[in-house]
Amino acid sequence: MSTTGTIVTQGKGARHGVLDRRRGSRVEPIYYLFLIPTLVLFTLAITVPAVTGIVFSFTDSIGIGTWSFNGLTNYIAMMSDPAILQSYLFTFGFSIATVIVVNVVAFLLAVGLTAQIRFRTALRTIFVIPMVISGIIIAYVFNFLFSNSVPAVGNALGIGWLKDSLLANPDLAWVAIVLVTAWQAIPGTLLIYIAGLLSVPGDVYEAADIDGASRAQQLFRITLPLVAGYVVINMILGFKNFLNAYDIIVGLTNGGPGTATRSVAMTIIAGFNGGDYSYQMANATIFFIVAIIISLLQLSLTRGRNTI
């Protein structure tokens, strides 16, 4: 490192005691050995691909062979590509719906699991199981249930709209994807809410009791505001995950019927297999920017919460 770094260090007097012998001298080489190989690997595995991708989004490359820069052509073409626009519309709609379902259900389950109930440990054990199962396998199990069992139940009970598979209906297939994604995502969200609820001191409720607040009032006026930070975290973490939806959709509908349930991630991969390398890299770059905006939103929101 440069000498300026060392001078700054001395001014701040960052270390004390025995470790002082390092101050002003060089960093022990072993620390470089601890850090540099990982940095190099990380750069090769993530930074280089990210930069290559962005560069190629301004070219006409099909993935192999010669290519030349073509400016913003890919980006302009993307803006009027119905397949891409539809995938963004689907991905956002699906993510918003899933975030709402997951958070409402997980919050209510967490309230239940922190109440005076029987079999608390056993119930919590069961509710967490979906978290440890592979998304694509969950999707195949539910694919079978949606295609065979649910219509069978619909026939037996004479419920018309249940007789056909949800997955074959272009207007409703997304509902199945929301349900299965929620099934898998609820455990993680639930555990965060349980941690949040347990952090609310009990005497707050005692005081509310004395003041004559009803259970509903306590839930909305005390519990919710006190765990608001956890709600924000769960919403944004979930939303970021759901935007990348891939495994469960592959197992349930594979993007169909037609392209009704094709997520952005699936469009990028499918386009690549179809030879649209640079075009899909433009798509990926836009997707990247969207992800960054959401992450920045997360930082500003959570930081705001903490200061309250």
């Binding site: 490192m1 700054v8 260090t9 701040k12 005691g17 025995v18 470790l19 601890f34 990982t38 690997l41 990380f42 595995a45 280089v48 290559t52 991708g53 239940g112 922190t114 109440a115 005076q116 109930i117 029987r118 079999f119 119930l123 199981i129 978290m131 440890v132 199962i133 592979s134 694509i136 396998i137 195949y140 199990v141 079978f144 249930l145 065979n148 069992s149 069978a152 555990l191 949040g196 347990l198 952090s199 609310v200 009990g202 005497d203 259970r215 930070g229 956890y230 975290i233 973490l237 990348n244 891939y246 495994d247 991630a265 991969i269 390398y277 990926a284 992800a291 997360q298 959570t302 903490n306």
Partner: protein, 303 residues
């Protein structure tokens, strides 16, 4: 990072638990009244988890003749392991499970070691620009979703002959790195320097100090980091399906996708195959759930 100001989950846990709401309208006699309404509602909700698992198990143990009618809720009559035998042979289960195990073990080990090394170097040299910037550089990967870098990674791993489980281990480790470094550095900052100094007075080198003092202290965080890496590496479909080019080297979740067409209507075979793929993680979870739940809570609230 963003939520450190929140009260620690366990801090008030005991108190809150003992004073939590009792019966619906009944006067609060804490710790004694069991809320049966809530208990029953929760048991009903638990069925949404248990029924798909029951269907998986019951379909897997049916004979081919019984399974073909697709009646999900019927009990296996007779019990048959035909499905398992066929799935074992068809999907080359031992090979696929071996590869999944290799990828998972490799990712978990590499993530814990590399992240612990890097975090220790970063925290102990925070006053040096290189180390400080490395921290933010590694953290930045949390903003990069896999689909964004997937296509160039496919090309790069292909060119470097890493289009195999080895490449998946490297990429999975790198994707876990940001989050793991975040957890380790937060924990390392809370370890008092005096602990190390005593070792150093006794003449231990940095390498020895790391292994004798730091790494054992990191154990709870290593468990959290390891659990996240395990769940990701064992269950992921998207990345191995794109990176590993030879289908015979694919992991268990990808095998299910590759053989989905060949399973066709032999539901007992497909469900036996699903069950064999999901069982190891479920069994591991049931035996270690205390740590899994603590780890996930800790990791998610900090991350």
């Amino acid at each position: 990072m963003s939520t450190q100001a929140m009260p620690h989950p366990d801090a008030n846990a005991t108190r809150a638990l003992t004073t939590h709401r009792a019966g619906k309208r009944a006067p609060r006699i804490r710790m004694e009244r069991v809320n049966w309404t809530t208990t029953i509602i929760l048991i009903a909700c638990a069925l949404t988890v248990l029924v798909p698992l029951y269907v998986t198990v019951s379909m897997a143990f049916k004979s081919t003749n019984q399974a073909v009618d697709g009646k999900a809720f019927a009990w296996p009559q007779p019990f048959s392991i035909e499905g398992f035998i066929e799935a074992w042979r068809l999907t080359e289960f031992p090979v696929a499970a071996g590869i999944s195990l290799l990828v998972t073990a490799g990712t978990v080990t590499a993530t814990i070691l590399l992240a612990a090394f890097a975090s220790y170097a970063i925290v102990r040299n925070w006053d040096r620009r290189l180390f400080r910037w490395s921290f933010f550089y590694l953290l930045a990967a949390m903003f990069v979703p896999f689909p964004v870098v997937a296509l160039p990674q496919i090309q790069l791993t292909g060119r470097l002959h890493l289009d195999n489980p080895g490449g998946v281990i490297i990429l999975a480790t790198m994707f876990q790195l940001s989050f793991s470094v975040l957890l380790f550095t937060a924990f390392l900052r809370s370890i008092p320097l005096e602990l190390e100094e005593s070792a150093r007075i006794d003449g231990a080198s940095t390498w020895q100090t790391f292994w004798r003092i730091i790494f054992p202290l990191l154990a709870p965080m290593s468990a959290t980091v390891g659990i996240f890496a395990f769940l990701y590496a064992w269950n992921d479909f998207m990345m191995p399906s794109l990176i590993i080019s030879d289908p015979s080297l694919q992991t268990l979740p990808v095998r299910q996708n590759l053989f989905q067409n060949q399973f066709s209507n032999n539901y007992n075979v497909s469900f036996a195959s699903y069950l064999m793929a999901m069982a190891p993680a479920i069994v591991a979870y049931l035996f270690t759930q205390r740590w899994v739940i603590a780890g996930v809570t800790q990791g998610a609230v900090k991350g």
